[in-house]
Symmetry: C2
C-alpha cells in the first residue's frame, strides 16, 4: 500500500514540500482553505492598487496539474485523530496519514484587543484583507472629495499605519506614493498630496531587525517620501474617528478614520489543535508556535512535521528562526527531501540547517534596504536588487510575466491601474 502524506497549507512551506516530493511513490494530499497559493510579499501592492489579486496568486491545481501524486483539496482542518492517525476536515472527512506536514502560517495578533480592533484596523494577510484595505484607503479620498468640512477632510486624509516592520513600512511608503504621486491630479476639491501618512512604531527605529545604519536610512527614506514616522510611540486606543497614541508617556490624539494594522502576528490556531489532540501541553511556545526538533518534527512523533511561520525552530544561539518566506521555503524543501529518503527506505539523519541569504525590505519606488552577510545596500541599487529577487521568486508562478509587465508599466507611468473600490461592506461608512 502506498504511503499517505498529508500536507496542510499551500503557502511557501507546504507548496515547496509537495514539489520536493514529485518523484516519490507516496500519495500526497495537500489541504488548503483557499484554492490558490498566495505570494504574500507583494500583497501590499494589491492593498494599494498596484497589482490585481490574480497577479500574485496561482491556483494550487495549476501548480500541481502535472504532479500526479498530489491531490489538492480545498478544505479546513477541524481536528486530528491521534488513535487513527487521521486529519479531520470541517465536514467530517477523514484523511489518514503516515506522515503529516503542518504549514498553516500565521495570522494577525492585536495583543488581546482582537475583538475591538480587528474590525477597525484591518491587517494584511489575505487577498480579502488587501481588498478591504484598498477599499478603505480609496474610499477615504472619495469621501474627502465630497466633503465641505475642512476638519472632516483633514481627518479623512490621515492614514495611520501601526507597526514599523516590513509590512508597515511598505504600506506607509505605498500610501504616500499613491497620494503624493499617482493621484496627485485626480481630484478637484481636495489636494491629495496634503494627505498625512503616519507610521507608528514602538521602538527607536523602523525595521529594527536590520543593521542600525540601514534602519536609520529607511527612516530617512520614508520621511523623504512624506511619511511621518513616529518612533518610540505606542498605540493605546482606536476610536471610529481618532486614535490615541502614547509618546514619551504622554497621550496624543490623531484624528483619522483609516487605521492599518501591521504590528503583530501570532501562529495559526492549528498548532493548538495539534497539541490538544496529541496531549502535548508543552508543545507550543508563548506565541502559539509549535516547538520542533532538529528535523522539523515534533517531540515523540517523528512522522509529524511543522514548518514555516507555525514552527518555532531553535537556533544555536538560543533564538528561533524568523517567520519569513525563505525559512518556510527551505524547511518545505528539507522535509520533502527527508520524506523522499524515508519512504524509499533510506536513512536521513541530517538536521535542518537554515541558509540565511540575507534580508531585504522595500520602502517605495527606488528605495529599499538589503542586508546579506557583510553587504549592506540602500537606495536605488537595493531597490533593483529587491525587484530582481522578487521577479526570480515569482518565476515559480505562471503569471510572472504579467506582474513584471504591470510593474514596469506602473514604474514608467507612476500609475496604479488596479485602484478599484469593490465589495459592499463600508462603501458608505
Amino acid at each position: 500500500m502506498p504511503t499517505n502524506v498529508v500536507i496542510v497549507g499551500g503557502g511557501f512551506g507546504g507548496m515547496m514540500c509537495a514539489k520536493a516530493m514529485r518523484r516519490t511513490s507516496a500519495n500526497i494530499t495537500l489541504v488548503d482553505k483557499r484554492n490558490f497559493h498566495l505570494f504574500q510579499p507583494l500583497l501590499y501592492q494589491v492593498a494599494t492598487g498596484g497589482l490585481s489579486p490574480a497577479n500574485i496568486a496561482a491556483p494550487l491545481r495549476s501548480i500541481f496539474r502535472c504532479q500526479r501524486n498530489v491531490q489538492v483539496l480545498m478544505g479546513t482542518v477541524e481536528s486530528f485523530d491521534k488513535a487513527n492517525s487521521c486529519v479531520i476536515l470541517e465536514d467530517g472527512t477523514q484523511l489518514p496519514f503516515d506522515y503529516l506536514v503542518l504549514a498553516t502560517g500565521s495570522t494577525h495578533h492585536y495583543f488581546g484587543r482582537d475583538v475591538d480592533w480587528e474590525p477597525v484596523a484591518p491587517g494584511l494577510k489575505t487577498i480579502e484583507d488587501a481588498t478591504v484595505i484598498r477599499r478603505r484607503v480609496l474610499s477615504a479620498f472619495e469621501r474627502a472629495e465630497r466633503s465641505h468640512d475642512p476638519l472632516e477632510i483633514a481627518r479623512l486624509l490621515t492614514f495611520v499605519i501601526v507597526g514599523g516592520g516590513p509590512t508597515g513600512v511598505e504600506m506607509a511608503g505605498s500610501i504616500a506614493e499613491l497620494s503624493k504621486q499617482t493621484m496627485k491630479k485626480d481630484f478637484r476639491s481636495i489636494n491629495p498630496t496634503t494627505a498625512r501618512v503616519i507610521l507608528v512604531e514602538n521602538s527607536k527605529l523602523v525595521l529594527d531587525r536590520y543593521h542600525e545604519s540601514l534602519s536609520i536610512q529607511a527612516g530617512k527614506d520614508l520621511r523623504s517620501m512624506g511619511v511621518e514616522v513616529m518612533n518610540e510611540t505606542r498605540l493605546s486606543e482606536i476610536f471610529p474617528k481618532h486614535v490615541v497614541v502614547t509618546q514619551n508617556g504622554r497621550p496624543l490624539t490623531i484624528e483619522t478614520e483609516t487605521v492599518i494594522w501591521a504590528a503583530g502576528v501570532k501562529a495559526s490556531p492549528l498548532g493548538k489543535k495539534l497539541a490538544e489532540a496529541y496531549d502535548l501541553p508543552a508543545l507550543l511556545d508563548r506565541s502559539g508556535r509549535v516547538q520542533v526538533e532538529a528535523r522539523c518534527s515534533i517531540a515523540e512523533h517523528s512522522n509529524i512535521f511543522v514548518i514555516g511561520d507555525l514552527a518555532n525552530f531553535p537556533t544555536h544561539d538560543g533564538k528561533t528562526l524568523p517567520g519569513v518566506a525563505p525559512v518556510a521555503i527551505q524547511q518545505g524543501s528539507y522535509v520533502g527531501k527527508l520524506l523522499n529518503a524515508t519512504i524509499s527506505g533510506r536513512k536521513c539523519t541530517q538536521p535542518f540547517q537554515y541558509w540565511d541569504k540575507g534580508n531585504m525590505a522595500t520602502i517605495g519606488r527606488s528605495h529599499a534596504i538589503v542586508e546579506s552577510g557583510r553587504i549592506r545596500l540602500t537606495g536605488k541599487l537595493a531597490w533593483l536588487a529587491w525587484l530582481f529577487i522578487h521577479i526570480l521568486y515569482l518565476a515559480r508562478f505562471e503569471n510572472r510575466m504579467l506582474v513584471v509587465f504591470q510593474w514596469f508599466w506602473n514604474y514608467a507611468t507612476r500609475n496604479r491601474t488596479a485602484r478599484l473600490i469593490t465589495g459592499n461592506e463600508d462603501r458608505h461608512k
Copy 2:
C-alpha cells in the same frame, strides 16, 4: 457664471458624453456609485477566471485626470429636486444643474421572482456579480472533488445558464472551455470534462436577434464545444439542489446547484425617480426605460437627457434601439456635442441618428458570429474580428496592453490565471 452639467453614470454613455465636452467651458460633474468605468462586454471573462477585475475596469479619476472641467464624485443619486433643478445624493448633497444627463443603464430582471431567484441565480452586471459567479462555479468543482457520492458529484458538475442571448452564450461557452480544456488535468477524483453545461433558452434558437443562419451556426458551435442547448425551454422554478424547466409543456427536473441568470434586464430605477420628481407618469415604457425624443431629451424638458440602456429611443420602424454598448457610446457623444453647441450659443437641431455598424457575439475560443449589413461571418474569422474590435475599444483604457497580453497568454496555454475563489459568502455552502 459657468454652466453646470451633471452626468449620472460613468458607463459607456456617461463617459463618452463627458469626453465629448472636453473643450466646453461648463462645469461637469460625473456621479457614479463606483469609482471605475467597467468594460462590461468582457465581464464574462472575469466570471470564468480568464481576466482580473482590474483588467476591464479603469478608475474614472484616471480617465478624467487631465480633463480639468470634469469633477468625478462617487455617490448614489437619491432623488431630483424639480423646483431648484438639483440632483440630490444619498447624503443630502445637492448638485444644481443647467443640463442633466442620465446614463445609469440596466440591471437584472427576474420577471417578478427577484426575491427568490436573485440570491440563487446571480446575474452578470457588476464586478461583484462576476466574482460571485467565479466563486460558485469554481467551488462546485472543489466540492465535487471532495465528494464520494456519485449523485452529488453529478449535481455539482451540472451548470445551468438561463437565457440564450449574448451573455448566456458567452457564459456557457466559457464554462464549457473551463471544464473541458483548462481544468481537464487539474483533479484526481473527478473528471471535469464530464461536467454538463446546459443553456436554457425560451425561443427556437440562441442569439435569435441575428440572422437565422448565424443563430443556427452559434447553436452548432455551442454543441461542438460540449454545451447542451435546450431551445424552446422555459425555466419554471429554482430550488437549492435542482431546477425545473418546461419543455413542450412538460416539466423536466435538472439536478444542479449552480444556476446563472442571463435571461432578462430591466432599466435602472433612476428613471422611475425622474418620472416621479417631474410628475411625468407617461415617461416610462413597460420595462422602466425613459422615453426620449429625437435629441435624446425628455418631453417638456429639453435640458434633461437620457441615454444608453436607460433610454427608450424610438426608431423609424416603430421599434426602439437595442440596449447595446454602441448605442450608448453614440448617444453619449451626440449629447456631449449637442451641449457643446448649445452652451457656446450655437443652435443644434440635428436629431440623434444611430449608425448601426453591426453586431457580434463570441461563443468561445475561435468561435463567434458577426453581422454587419449584408456581411455575415462565423468561425475563426468572426472570432478574430470580434477580438480585433474589442481590442480597439479597449484602446480607451490605460491597461489595454495587459488585457491583450493576458488574452494571448490564455489562448496560447489554454490556461486561465485568475481562477481565484475569493470572498466568504458561500465558501462552504
